[in-house]
């Protein structure tokens, strides 16, 4: 479903070129749960941003479901991001001024046409992560684990093909982390494609495939029988 070939990324800052990714080739099948590992500064986040269409590669081709995305303009990329990609961030990134339910509905702001069952979908997803009685709370009234569950519901609300999670448990205690990982297992079991950045081997153990980056290159790529 995802095909990256020859992806390179070089940052230009202050007249200095900083190469971050050197010709990454990855192909991810539908339904895979990929853990992206590696030391800090090896380009994991950059790769995630390229996968999530927030950043463009300097060179190389990115195909999502057969479509070449490298030449699309901002409007088209935004539409694809809206409909096909769901983000889960380390710092949750909920909008503090609106309710939990409104947070889950946020992606639909940018969805045309607006789905008539938007509210139902958001509510049933919140129920799915056990927050049915927190729907009208403001995010800051929730614990970190609960906030991350809201963020997961938000990532799923537009039924995206790809879930991108950037250290989703990095800011949580072990109990909350465990809950979040169980949710990811469940999503995986439902057949969604997940790419998750993590530092911890324990967390990577939930994945069906572990890709390790080193200095902007793929150091290892192991699939596990599930």
């Amino acid at each position: 479903m995802i095909e990256l070939s020859g992806i390179e990324k070089t940052y230009h800052t202050g007249g200095v070129d900083t190469p971050v990714l050197h010709g990454i080739n990855i192909s991810i099948e539908e339904g895979e749960f990929v853990a992206l590992m590696g030391p800090s500064g090896t380009g994991k986040s950059t790769l995630m941003n390229i996968l999530g269409l927030l950043d463009r590669p300097t060179a190389g081709v990115y195909k999502l479901a057969g479509q070449d995305l490298t030449k699309l303009d901002d409007n088209k990329l935004s539409t694809i991001r809206n409909k096909r990609v769901g983000f889960v961030f380390q710092l949750f990134h909920l909008l503090p001024r609106v309710s939990v339910l409104q947070n889950v509905l946020l992606p639909f702001l940018y969805t045309d046409p607006y789905p008539t069952d938007a509210r139902d979908r958001a509510q049933s997803l919140l129920k799915g992560v056990g927050l049915q009685d927190r729907m009208y709370f403001k995010p800051n009234a929730l614990s970190g684990g609960q906030q991350q569950r809201v963020a997961i519901a938000r990532a799923l609300v537009n039924e995206p093909a790809l879930i991108l999670a950037d250290e989703p448990t990095g800011n949580l205690d072990s109990v909350a982390s465990q809950e979040i990982l169980e949710i990811f297992d469940r999503i995986h079991a439902q057949g969604r494609t997940i790419v998750m950045v993590t530092h911890e081997a324990e967390i990577a153990a939930h994945a069906s495939r572990v890709i390790t980056l080193k200095d902007g290159c793929i150091a290892s790529d192991e699939k596990r029988g599930s």
Partner: protein, 405 residues
């Protein structure tokens, strides 16, 4: 519609920072307040002009004896004896097909008396054309006619106020009234005209034949004014020019010299009234413009400042599928919504002087029309649109990767 959803986001963002939003709209509110007052004044002036025109007669030309400026001194001074009956005759001979011409001798504060009732009032000695020239006819009895004029009859026609005050219980027609110690018989009563723009009661006067007034009551050989009622509205300007030239000719006035008569048309009066208000309007409009620009700059700067607090939000929205256009639209909508709220407050504040000033200064007319609201909406959304572009563009151009960090 996506644009409505994005605008609602803008509204909710503003609601969450009400204090800041209030600061943002304050300058614009002041500007719109001034604008509302200025538009109120200019609308009031136009309303006043149309009232004056209606009372003056939309096709009327009034020629008064004596030069000088409109509204200036010397209006009724005894020295202004420059206008003669022959002038009126000459104008009538030249223009009778295009206008009704009536000459009049006007005196004020003349004692009148009937039975136990005394008063001082304006006496208009006018030729028999005056009903057509003034579009002012008798409500009962008969008008003054050519026979009265020829015979210098001691007959009069009363204004409605005098008729009411002097003959409250009987028919005034046929009654006798003493004007300047001469007995007159009431021939008719005019229809009521109410008060004029300056607040004078137009019905508190009475009319006698011109010949009677000039030779029998006041013993003068000059007249005070000539009134023309032009038959066609399109002809007013041409008749004005012709009458002016004719009088200058008759009075031997050469080009650089000033007229020894004053000629008034509704247009002339309208221009005078407008020019009296113009300075105030210009100053007000300049202040409103400055306030709107300052308000717009303040709005822009607060938006730019608050942008830094909202970088994570912008990054998030970009990740959730907002395009640069969506972010631009959302921030521009914020700016425009703030401006429109500023407009609402400004119009409310501006209506206070619009209603108050005419009460305190009756000569300063103010009016509210649809233009008040149209201009307020136009200018405030314009300011919001212009000064919102820069913050909105900066928000839209943020790198989502940086914004999420």
């Amino acid at each position: 519609m996506r644009i409505f959803r994005v605008s609602r986001q803008a509204g909710s963002a503003l609601w969450s920072q009400k204090g800041k939003a209030f600061l943002m709209l304050l300058g614009i509110a002041v500007g719109i307040m001034l604008l509302t007052a200025v538009v109120g004044l200019s609308q009031g002036v136009e309303k006043r002009i149309s009232e004056i025109t209606a009372l003056f007669g939309p096709r009327a030309i009034v020629i008064q004896a004596g030069g000088g400026r409109f509204g200036g001194p010397g209006d009724r001074s005894a020295s202004s004896s420059t206008l003669k009956l022959e002038d009126a005759m000459a104008i009538r001979n030249r223009l009778s097909e295009r206008a009704v011409v009536a000459a009049a001798f006007v005196t004020d504060d003349i004692p009148i008396k009937s039975g136990d009732t005394n008063a001082q009032t304006d006496v208009m000695a006018a030729d028999p054309n005056f009903p057509q020239a003034y579009d002012w006819y008798v409500a009962s009895g008969d008008p003054l006619d050519e026979d009265d004029e020829r015979a210098m009859s001691r007959v009069c026609v009363l204004g409605a106020t005098i008729a009411r005050n002097f003959f409250p219980e009987q028919d005034p027609v046929g009654q006798r009234i003493m004007i300047n110690r001469v007995w007159f018989t009431v021939k008719g009563v005019l229809t009521s005209r109410g008060t004029n723009a300056m607040g004078f009661d137009m019905d508190d006067r009475l009319w006698i034949p011109l010949s009677t007034g000039m030779r029998r009551v006041f013993h003068q050989d000059y007249i005070r004014n000539i009134r023309l009622n032009v038959r066609s509205a399109d002809d007013v300007a041409a008749v004005t020019d012709e009458a002016t030239n004719l009088l200058r000719d008759r009075h031997h006035i050469r080009t650089p010299e000033e007229d020894d008569f004053r000629l008034r048309t509704p247009d002339f009066i309208a221009q005078r009234v407008r020019s009296m208000a113009r300075t105030t309007e210009l100053v007000g409009a300049a202040l409103a413009t400055v306030a709107l620009i300052v308000g717009g700059v303040v709005l822009m700067n607060i938006l730019l400042l608050s942008l830094s607090e909202r970088i994570p939000e912008i990054g998030l929205k970009r990740a959730l599928g907002a395009s640069q256009h969506d972010i631009f639209a959302e921030f521009l909508a914020e700016s425009i919504i703030v401006s429109l709220m500023g407009m609402a407050l400004g119009v409310l504040l501006g209506l206070v002087p619009v209603f108050l000033i005419p009460k305190l200064f009756p000569l300063m007319p103010m009016a509210v029309t649809w233009r008040t609201f149209a201009y307020a909406a136009l200018f405030s959304s314009f300011v919001g649109g212009i000064f919102g572009v820069q913050p909105a563009r900066r928000a839209a151009r943020l790198d989502p990767v940086e914004a999420l960090r």
